[in-house]
Amino acid sequence: MQMVAIGAIASAIGIALSYWIHWFPVDAAKQDKPIDTLYHVLMIVSIPIFVLVTTVILYSVWAFRMRPGQESEDGPPIHGNTRLEVVWTAIPAILLVSLCSYAYGVLTDIEQTHKDELVVKVHAVQFAWSFSYPQAGGARVSSDQLYLPVNRPVRFDIDTQDVIHDFWVPAFRVKIDTVPGIVTHLRVTPTRLGSYPIVCAELCGLGHSVMRSTAHVLTAAAYARWLAREQAPVSAGGAGGGGAAPTQAQLIALGRQTFTGDSGCGACHTLADAGTSGTTGPDLRAIRGQSQAEIRQDIVDPNARIAPGYQANIMPPSFGQTLTAQQLDGLVAYLASVSK
């Protein structure tokens, strides 16, 4: 009886404590509440079970431990008790099946589809994220950070150019692997303005721990403004492609933007001018005095020449395909300009 009372008090304290602890990151999406609640329900169920086991052990050690003089004594030869065994088979089974049904409900809830979903394509490459927003007429807006309007359901279509990564926004509670060869999906409805870290959660190579980006949740108006601003340079560039060639200054500016942004060069390479400090690849002070052709080869065919102390097959060999011709020209021009 004493034990039951102690157990009940300990469970109550445990459950109170589990509420008091600040477990989760900030709630920033509609998916958060159901998952957080599920966790708290699991804690409410689990704590009494844990307390039961611990209390029985502590009480047994206290009450039944061998006293001096009992060295040759044995306990009573109890071999079992069918009723008790049925109880501790049936109750956990019922409990677990109910928890599964509840979890299934939560799962359908958080993965609900919506008609007016905003589609955002997420691209992963060792070791950077990029995002593109399909626009009417086949155009796209690209960004190396994620911008989302608040309260609008979003569907992410996620792909990868090399290995498995995992797209995770802890503040949204959901994650999914990026799988070579298939497009995976994730649904989120952001509900809170602010900026939240995007994390790669699947070990993807040397730069795994620096493969990060940021998700910005904006008001609908601010999102529209951002979209309009992003569309502008793209259309200007498109027009430029058809007409006059961009000036050297434009090329260099585009190159710098490419370096620090989308393609993620800075995640691995240190370059003072760009303000990046990655250490996975060589410090780019090393390219001083190299020709533009050599720099271009280093980007499109990184295994052709490996800097001493570094290995082949670390830098993705796909930049020749993933960067536009103009971005590549810009990058080469920019790197040549800063390493003179």
Partner: protein
Amino acid sequence: MIVKLRAPGWYRAGTFVALGIAFAYVLVGIVRTAMHFDNPWSDGDAVTIVSLIAAPLFFLVGLGCFDYWFYWVAGRPTRPDDHSSHGAHSWKDYFRVNTDHKVIGIQYICTSVFFLFVGGLMAMLMRAELAQPGMQFVNSQEFNGLVSVHASLLIFLFVIPIFAGIANFVLPLMIGAPDMAFPRLNALSFWMLPVAGTIMLLSFLAPGGSFATGWTAYAPLSTTMPLGQLFFTIGVQFAGASSIATALNFLVTIITMRAPGMSFFRMPLLVWANFSTSLLVVIATPFIAASQFFVLLDRALGFQFFNAFVGAGKDGSVLMYQHVFWFYSHPAVYIMMLPGFGIVSEVLSVKARKPIFGYRMMAFSLIAIVILGFTVWAHHMFVSGMQSWIRIPMMITTAIIAVPTGIKIFSWLATIWRGVLRVDTPMLFALGFLVTFTCGGISGVMLAMVPFDIHVSDTYFIVAHIHYVLFGGSLFTIFAGLYYWFPKMTGRMYDERLGKLHFWATFIFFNVTFGPMHLIGIQGMPRRVADYAQQWAPYNLAISIASFLLGLSTLVFLYNMVVSWRLGPRAAANPWRALTLEWQVSSPPPIFNFDAVPTVVGGPYEYGIPGAVHGIFQSPAEAKPKPAGSVATSPTTE
């Protein structure tokens, strides 16, 4: 000298390793010449890969693992009672091919403990790096390498083989057998282990560093990594072959070599546990072998199993790797846990002086775990992008597998209830196991719940969970078992005070190390990262300090074991007053275990029944008329 080189042993093994590498070099050269490759005689990668396969096999031949079989194959007169390689008379006998299951058991245990310390030191290095955000001691290649080698060593060269080692020593004694069914196969299984461990450790010397993809070695990352990756791919094959052969050996031994009178329901639960584990190993381990052969073929020969970007139809399947891998690696969790359940059952019953509560349910729940264990693998893949419907059945089976596990926990609690508890070191570790493993089990059920798993998979919550299961679960039972059978194995008693110090230090610092990881995982810290956000700095510093103290606590264990083995007081044959057969012979046991074949006349756990015995050392004919302890023939009360 020539004689030494011709006799089985280390000189011949060394020579054969050199021969193996030469063979690999020539083979690669000839094949590459025939294929008209450039530089046929100077491709280091190819020679290394073939050497990794050939040199260990040559080593095993050189050491003498195959001598008897070659002798037989060559048609020379066989020697049915050849015991020339049986038993140990000096320490040197532990370093040669030995067919005595007791020697092999100790070889297994010492080798595994060595890898425990190596793997533990790697954990210390990782914790040193993680004590502060930013990079201090190692670079990211080295960190990922440490993560991977730490896990691989502790899984494939510590937890799995040390259970095989304990069972190797104890199990034949427990069932009244003179040895394992296949002693020479047993010796071969053991010697594949140091080979596997050496290969994994050598990976640090490979150009480009050790394998660094985690122990899961997910393709296509693993198929595009530098050479070090293949040291894992090939090392695992040797560890896997070793455990398959041992498991077969256990199965045959248990099925065919039980003493007269030992029915299945008179077997001690450790025997049941190893029977179930061996079933898991025999069925599941070929799958990890397959997954790593796929990687080997992809990486070495360009088969493109897992390449979804290149090839005829761009049809490499990345998810297939994970399915095949986890079809082994989830049962592997039970391979690493069921023998521990067996150890805990022995310890709790003997130390509480009570029969195991619900013996039959304990045995059936083991079998239930074996069967259910094969139906849950995809719960490791809830966020892998596989077909989403698979998640639901896998969630339900994963939750249901907690039922047999719960039966075991509650039955253990009922076993100690109203006993006369000897709270010494093995008992403390067994009770500590109940607490920590319950934690690990509960977080396991939480992880089964798909929506919660979507948030915490690949975070420190997972790190906490697996350490509560494999450290708080497996390692605690291993410590319990090592202390419990130490007198039997060595003939000496360990130091009880140091044992208790070891337990309390381990228990406290284990919880301080891994407990907070649940929290930082839910807060969003991913696993397998060398660097992390500032907000987790205080937690990580505390975790690192606790982990160093946890590391130090194992030195108490090591000191206790080494000093007690040499200088401890002599142990009696049966210091724990246990009923099972291994305690009815001298400590350490005689070279062929039993002078007379024992006859089993009752259950293994009949404590509290005056005059009850489990086995008697008389011929069956004499034993039958007067079945001592006949009250105990049925282990459950009807």
